[in-house]
Symmetry: C2
Subunit: 327 residues, 2 copies
């Protein structure tokens, strides 16, 4: 039954702990093999749990007296707010064998800093924030970095390629993930100074399956499994895609209202399933020892449910491939 | 009647001179007050013109024996291929008072280098490539740079802001264009090293109406009239928007076929009018003395017609505001 336990820090999100708890309970209803450990304000969590119908044998609550917010200095908060829900959730994820991963919708900076401190990978690298996005040709693309590392050098971008490659191999069972490098043209000669330097390094790296430069038009087409970019450029791809998709869907809704065509509203639902990045799940911290996922700060109960499903799926996928004993 | 004459270099595009000529003739049919000067292979142009019904009094043909292609070194080509259609079109645009602007669908590099040489602005600045994109809230956004200057410093970005501001004031009659700076967050503290440096300079610049950082999600929302970015990041915004829009429209077409709903095909037509960047017109060279527009290399007759209409509109707009004597 409940073979997979995930840690959820219910504090620090824009929407408040109640919605996070509701999302967790929805995830339990949707997934028989899931159980959760909720970290945060015990009283508020228990009150919300009492309101909802749920199997309490699959819910563990760990009280925490402090909250790390977006106003805190991430590094300082991780070291000073030791009774915060985030630090307790991270520490438990790092220490406890029964917890397979963690979800949080609060401070990204604190989550990254804390992952490195409490859920370290075997080989320590500067962590990166990846987004797992649906490719036009099917499957998924791991876009890394999406904003954790804004000013990068070429060797960091090579690290991102390795971390992305390992992640797509481990959690998506892609044997030799194709690595693409975001540039302003597909040709080898295109790119800014950083991209040209990185291109040369990636080409020489025999451990990677480097397929060359990818331009913006084809960023999410699916010509690579891992798309490498510095955090500034990667953030543009992620947020711009989100903005344009939201805009077109809004346009279609207006058009549907104007024409009073009900078929078009069905189309909107179909498009929302593909392009609503809020419901798609969150960003993954690469460089942590277990999957740590940052959900949107404005996440709603459904998106927390979807993020939980995403975490569950990638862990199951890994177990299928490697066996549970090799987590 | 034909008060506005534009120069069109019909060579160097991927689609061949015949389609360019066809586009020019379509533009003449659509706009009574337009006349054109076509530069290129005289024989092929005349043959195509003979096939099409058009008012020859509004078409001037200037023969050119050479073509500048994408394989030429732009700077070298501008100086050596002096009998090329592009150099002749640029020289005529710079010299002749009756020509209000130029369109080309060939080598972007040569067009930029040649504009600086043959159609210089009063104050010389390193030219930039701007895209004029429809804003979500209505009106247009001038995105600059979109790929002419890949590695930039902060003072260049400030130049882009000035050129974009002047352009939107002169050709779109916006008195104090709002200048936004593309960043990875709207907060002043966000950005890579280049963005932070540029932010400080823009804030101090009393000639500019700087409204702060704009993040990717809102790049094309319409919170600014000019969006400043280095050529690498700007290229991502432009091409990524194009890629996502194309992808969603393709999805809708598939959905329409699946459901056999004819209303949805009408919706596709509506979306194509807004989001088909190929038909929207081209990129504008900022820093030239007259409007010089680069149409897509894969432009078709309709997009050349639309690019001509765009050029005509911005020149007319300027004339309305400043009077024809102040061109």
């Amino acid at each position: 039954m409940a073979e997979y336990k995930i840690a959820i820090d219910v504090m620090g999100s824009d929407s408040g702990p109640e919605l996070m708890v509701e999302g967790a309970v929805k995830a339990l209803v949707a997934n028989d093999d899931l159980s959760v450990v909720l970290f945060g304000d015990e009283e508020r969590i228990e009150k919300k749990l009492a309101e909802l119908e749920c199997d309490r044998s699959r819910v563990e609550v760990v009280g925490a007296s402090e909250v790390i917010t977006n106003y805190d200095n991430p590094m300082e908060a991780i070291f000073r707010k030791t009774d915060s829900s985030l630090v307790k959730a991270l520490a438990a994820t790092g220490e406890r064998e029964d917890i397979v991963g963690l979800i949080n919708a609060g401070s990204t900076g604190a989550l990254i800093a804390g992952s490195l401190r409490y859920v370290p990978a075997k080989v320590l690298k500067r962590p990166a924030l990846a987004a797992i996005l649906p490719a036009e040709k099917g499957g998924f693309i791991c876009l890394v970095d999406t904003g954790a590392n804004i000013d990068c050098n070429a060797s960091q971008l090579v690290d991102f390629a390795h971390m992305g490659s390992d992640f797509m191999r481990d959690y998506y069972s892609i044997e030799h993930p194709r690595i693409g490098l975001l540039s302003n043209g597909a040709e080898e000669t295109k790119g800014n100074k950083l991209v040209k330097e990185t291109h040369a390094l990636l080409k020489e790296d025999k451990e990677l399956n480097f397929v060359g430069n990818i331009e913006g038009t084809n960023a999410l087409t699916g010509d690579c499994d891992v798309l490498v970019a510095d955090g500034f450029a990667g953030n543009q791809v992620l947020k711009n895609s989100e903005g344009i998709a939201r805009r077109i869907i809004t346009d279609i809704v207006k058009y549907a209202k104007m024409t009073a065509n009900t078929e078009i509203m069905k189309l909107v639902k179909h498009l929302m399933e593909i392009y609503d990045f809020n419901s798609l799940g969150g960003a993954i911290i690469l460089g942590a020892g277990k999957p740590v996922i940052k959900a949107h700060g404005a996440a709603n109960a459904d998106s927390i449910m979807n993020t939980s499903a995403m975490l569950l799926n990638i862990v199951k996928n890994r177990d299928l491939f490697y066996g549970k004993d090799n987590r």
